[in-house]
Subunit: 243 residues, 2 copies
């Protein structure tokens, strides 16, 4: 058990390094190979879309999920507020990313919402918004009974990870689309842009794997704080093997 | 608890219906829109690839994962043998799917292994093979100590679901590739083929979600059989909240 506990800081550190690498590689890809970022309806505005989506729907989203494991000594209420706040920031960044691409399409006369990437993206962001509102209603507003919270908690946790997985899959379809639209001819010659964007996708999968692993391992669960024991008698049934 | 237990057959039934729908829709897509299946180095041979991959790496793979929940009264040894056998079948079907596309590429002079889809696909099938061999070594050969089995079981379960997720993400990049290669012009006009293949991708995500949900809910876990209680004293620490 102690051995496994020692692995934890390494895994969290790796997840954060991969998260930073994702944003940097996305920035280099669009900055170096596609001329950088702007908000003028041009292809440079399109570039805002992938950067915002990986930052919002993957890196910030993943970090909000990790919070409960990374700060086990912080009070539950503070963690909930921080979790909800980072997810709100992730949502706002994602919405900027969606506005960037819809606005670029409108200016350029490109049709919306025909591709698999767009279907998955709109579905994911919509379900994320629903999930965020339900989390607010169940866990932060005082109205929900402890029975309801206990019933919803595992559903919230499952759909949270499921949406992260769908979000990363959506990024992979977006990377495939972008490469086939822009370097169809040279992609099969192993153009540097193709190798870079393929590697970005592998980093996204690695980040999802690390976040998923850290939050699903029983031994990394947050032990209940002494002051919470008295408050929720059923809490132990949700954290069955916490020490 | 009883209420949730009643949901179980519905979820399993839905997963199986979605699994059948995935294979049927893939068959209709490639049969109706791409001329069907053959093994002659032509585009009809390429069509064998997607059909084998969704059948092997998603549907059979997912069903092998579900086994432990669907037959809770079957002996553990029989379930392990069936789990390993269905996964072996999934591997063989997937390898046929890989041979189909590599052979088609060779005959047609198309380069291999440059796209994100191919990177993810080769990575997934390779890791699946490693996972299968490790499962065989740890759980079916008598050599592994109960301590080693107990240590490896949650890792096996986590990587099993992670690989299913990566496998489905790989299918989505493959669908995106195939559509952009074959109907780039009409995809944005919402050609029926595009709508059909997009829907196939949503079915794949739904299948992954259902399998993931069924196997991660504590209340669907297989209760230890009476004859196993005496054999493994540590088993309860792996199924902390089983009834």
């Amino acid at each position: 058990y102690e051995q496994i506990r020692l692995v934890f800081p390494g895994l969290v550190g790796m997840s954060q390094a991969v998260g930073v690498a994702i944003v940097v590689v996305t920035g280099v890809w669009l900055g170096h190979h596609h001329g950088g970022f702007a908000w003028d309806g041009s292809a440079h505005q399109f570039n805002v879309h992938p950067l915002c989506m990986v930052l919002g729907m993957v890196v910030l989203y993943g970090d909000a999920v990790l919070l409960y494991r990374v700060f086990p000594r912080e009070s539950k209420r503070n963690l909930k507020i921080l979790h909800g706040s980072i997810h709100l920031l992730a949502l706002l960044v994602s919405i900027i990313g969606l506005v960037a691409v819809f606005n670029f399409h409108r200016v350029s006369g490109i049709p919306d919402l025909y591709s698999l990437h767009s279907w998955c993206g709109v579905l994911t962001v919509t379900l994320f918004l629903v999930q965020w509102l339900m989390g607010l209603g169940f866990f932060l507003f005082p109205g929900a009974s402890s029975w309801l919270r206990e019933w919803y908690l595992p559903l919230h946790a499952f759909f949270g990870l499921f949406l992260l997985a769908v979000s990363i899959a959506t990024c992979l379809t977006g990377i495939t689309e972008k490469l086939l639209f822009s370097i169809m001819e040279t992609y099969s010659l192993r153009a540097p842009e193709g190798l870079l964007a393929n590697s970005l996708a592998l980093l996204l999968l690695l980040f999802g794997g690390l976040v998923g692993f850290i939050v699903t391992r029983e031994e990394f669960r947050r032990p209940p704080q002494p002051e919470e024991e008295a408050l929720s008698v059923h809490f132990t049934s949700l954290t069955p093997s916490s020490p």
